[in-house]
């Protein structure tokens, strides 16, 4: 390493990384900064920070005066949280069955469930819509929850079973000798040990659900079931000239994912290292 100055190399590495970090964050910066400025300032100096003269919350007051926005927010939250809970619970249960027990068809079942990692659920949209129409579930949050649970399960089962194979057999057998049922072993011994993996799965599952536009557009476009992603898309269309409102709406839409991402980001890399790449 000492042959070509390591200092120069470190500086070069930082330069490239800082440059790319700026590229990555710049658009977010543009949205958030301009959402706090008056309309005139947005157009005059899009890159300037808001100062005493240009600071204006008119965008936020417009958005918040629209009651719908809270409704959209709530819909997104319900859909994401319920689907996430379903994916984590059912995914962990199936992963436990596949990794813990030897039974006929185990490998086949694993492959069957893994199929959904490669084949996107969107390709079945035509029939999913027909099914939801037949079941009277169009324009309900239930339809979205069912679809997202199914969509998230394959990857969850795959990652979680990789992790559950690493849980020590001695522990589980000790539990069995103590007379714990298989269910108790799963819920009280195994689940707490795979919590880091659950966090990884949670991030990977949550982001596409929160951000999805396709299924809300097709299965639940009604006013009372719009998610925040679809809601902001429609909002942009309606308020196309009210830039303050659009920028504030987008800033508000960024917050929840950003918070969750920052909470889970430490787990993310650990999860990837141990699971998906193997």
């Amino acid at each position: 390493m000492a042959a070509r100055s390591p200092l120069g190399r470190t500086i070069a590495a930082h330069a490239v990384l800082i440059a790319y970090t700026l590229i990555a964050l710049f658009p977010v910066f543009v949205i958030v900064v301009n959402s706090f400025k008056s309309r005139r300032a947005i157009f005059a100096e899009p890159l300037a920070l808001p100062n005493a003269e240009t600071f204006d919350l008119v965008g936020y007051t417009t958005v918040l005066a629209q009651g719908d926005f809270f409704q959209y927010f709530q819909n997104s939250l319900i859909v994401t949280v319920v689907s996430l809970a379903g994916v984590l619970l059912f995914g962990a249960m199936a992963a436990f069955a596949l990794s813990e027990y030897r039974f006929r068809g185990n490998t086949l079942m694993g492959l069957y469930l893994a199929l959904g990692i490669m084949i996107p659920i969107r390709l079945g949209t035509v029939a999913i819509l027909q099914m939801m129409v037949a079941g009277g579930l169009v324009n309900t949050l239930t339809a979205l929850i069912l679809v997202y649970t199914a969509q998230g399960l394959p990857l969850a089962v795959f990652i979680l079973s990789e992790f559950m194979r690493q849980v020590s057999d001695d522990l589980k057998n000790a539990g069995r000798i103590d007379g714990l049922s298989e269910y108790r072993i799963f819920f009280t011994l195994v689940l707490p040990l795979v919590r880091p993996a659950m966090a990884t799965v949670a991030v990977f599952t949550m982001i596409p659900i929160w951000n999805d536009l396709w299924f809300p557009l097709i299965l639940a476009p009604a006013e009372e079931t719009k998610t925040i992603t679809l809601g902001s898309q429609v909002f942009i269309g309606q308020f196309v000239t009210n830039w303050n409102a659009v920028l504030s709406a987008l800033s508000l839409a960024i917050i929840p994912v950003m918070v969750l991402y920052l909470i889970f980001s430490r787990q993310l890399i650990r999860g990837i290292t141990a699971g998906a790449v193997k």
């Binding site: 042959a3 190399r9 470190t10 590495a13 490239v16 990384l17 800082i18 790319y20 590229i23 990555a24 964050l25 658009p27 977010v28 543009v30 949205i31 157009f43 899009p46 890159l47 379903g86 619970l89 059912f90 249960m93 199936a94 069955a97 596949l98 027990y101 079942m109 469930l113 959904g116 490669m118 084949i119 996107p120 969107r122 390709l123 949209t125 035509v126 029939a127 999913i128 027909q130 199914a150 394959p154 269910y183 982001i207 929160w210 951000n211 999805d212 536009l213 396709w214 097709i218 902001s232 898309q233 659009v246 987008l250 839409a253 960024i254 994912v257 950003m258 991402y261 980001s265 790449v277």
Partner: protein, 304 residues
């Protein structure tokens, strides 16, 4: 041989996941494939065999749009492979260099675009590239390159590439994370041995690390392929369902949406929609098979 008792708990553990997955994903998928073999004649569903596919590939009214969308989709994928994945590898290689300060910060920041919704991404880039509000023209002006600016999203020859690059910007975090994880899992002994033999720096990356992360690059390539041939949202939010200008950014996802739901004066057609979905299924299946049988088996995996 005594029969073992039925272990009901295995069924209980598997049932919820398998039921939901089968009912919501697998059955509709096959129902959609099946639907592509039917058509409507006088409001009655009639078996049509492969007629829909003949229409899609042969009838000039359909085939022109289809081949256009497929070609655009292929270009979209190619841009990702040539830009997104090399940048991802480069960033991961830099991040994994030992004793790099602030690595966690860079990693977190560069992944931020990936968590944003397409609505936000599409809108903000439209703003930045807009000739009217124009952050991009202003910035080019500052470095004296204003003459280079054109409304990239509005010009037929640039729009698709511009959107592909926006998508690259959004998703570069994924290859970066996966490659980074793969680089971290290379044991120190291997790298120390290389250093003893005088293999350092760039040549160490090319000769030691790159061969070891090839399986991860393979996984990323197939994930990119599946994601790209199933993309829809970014094009829809940036250019609308008509994928303008003049269908220059139309890809299979937007084509499927228009066909299935209809647009303007054309009515939605579930059977042709299912036919397009089946074609997409075929394309993705071919890609996945090439990966599983040709690429993955030839990549050597190293167990440490």
């Amino acid at each position: 041989m005594a029969r073992k008792a039925v272990r009901w708990h295995i069924a209980v553990f598997l049932a919820p996941a398998v039921l939901i997955y089968t009912a919501i994903m697998i059955i509709p998928l096959f129902a959609t494939l099946n639907l592509s073999l039917f058509t409507l004649v006088d409001r009655a569903r009639v078996f049509a065999g492969l007629d829909n596919f003949r229409t899609l590939f042969g009838d000039p009214r359909w085939s022109e749009t289809f081949w256009n969308a497929l070609g655009n989709n292929a270009w979209f994928f190619l841009v990702h492979m040539l830009v997104q994945n090399p940048i991802g590898v480069l960033l991961a290689a830099l991040l994994s260099s030992p004793r790099l300060r602030m690595a966690a910060f860079y990693r977190t920041a560069i992944f931020v675009p990936t968590i944003l919704s397409f609505v936000i991404v599409g809108f903000v880039w439209k703003l930045i590239l807009s000739p009217i509000w124009g952050i991009a023209p202003g910035m080019l002006d500052m470095v004296g390159l204003k003459s280079l600016f054109t409304p990239w999203l509005g010009k037929q020859e640039y729009a698709l590439t511009t959107l592909a690059l926006i998508s690259v910007w959004q998703f570069v975090g994924i290859p970066m994370m996966l490659i980074y994880a793969a680089l971290l899992s290379i044991p120190d002994e291997v790298l120390e041995a290389a250093e003893m033999d005088g293999v350092t720096g760039m040549s160490q990356f090319w000769k030691i690390k790159l061969p070891l992360i090839l399986p991860s690059i393979g996984i990323i390539s197939i994930l990119t392929f599946v994601g790209n041939f199933n993309a829809f949202d970014l094009i829809y939010v940036a250019q609308g369902a008509l994928a303008g200008p003049d269908f220059a950014t139309d890809i299979l996802g937007t084509f499927l949406y228009r066909t299935f739901f209809g647009f303007q004066l054309q009515l939605g057609d579930p059977h042709m929609g299912a036919t397009i979905a089946t074609a997409m299924f075929g394309i993705i299946l071919v890609g996945v098979c090439i990966y599983l049988f040709l690429i993955q088996t030839r990549l050597r995996r190293y167990q440490f």
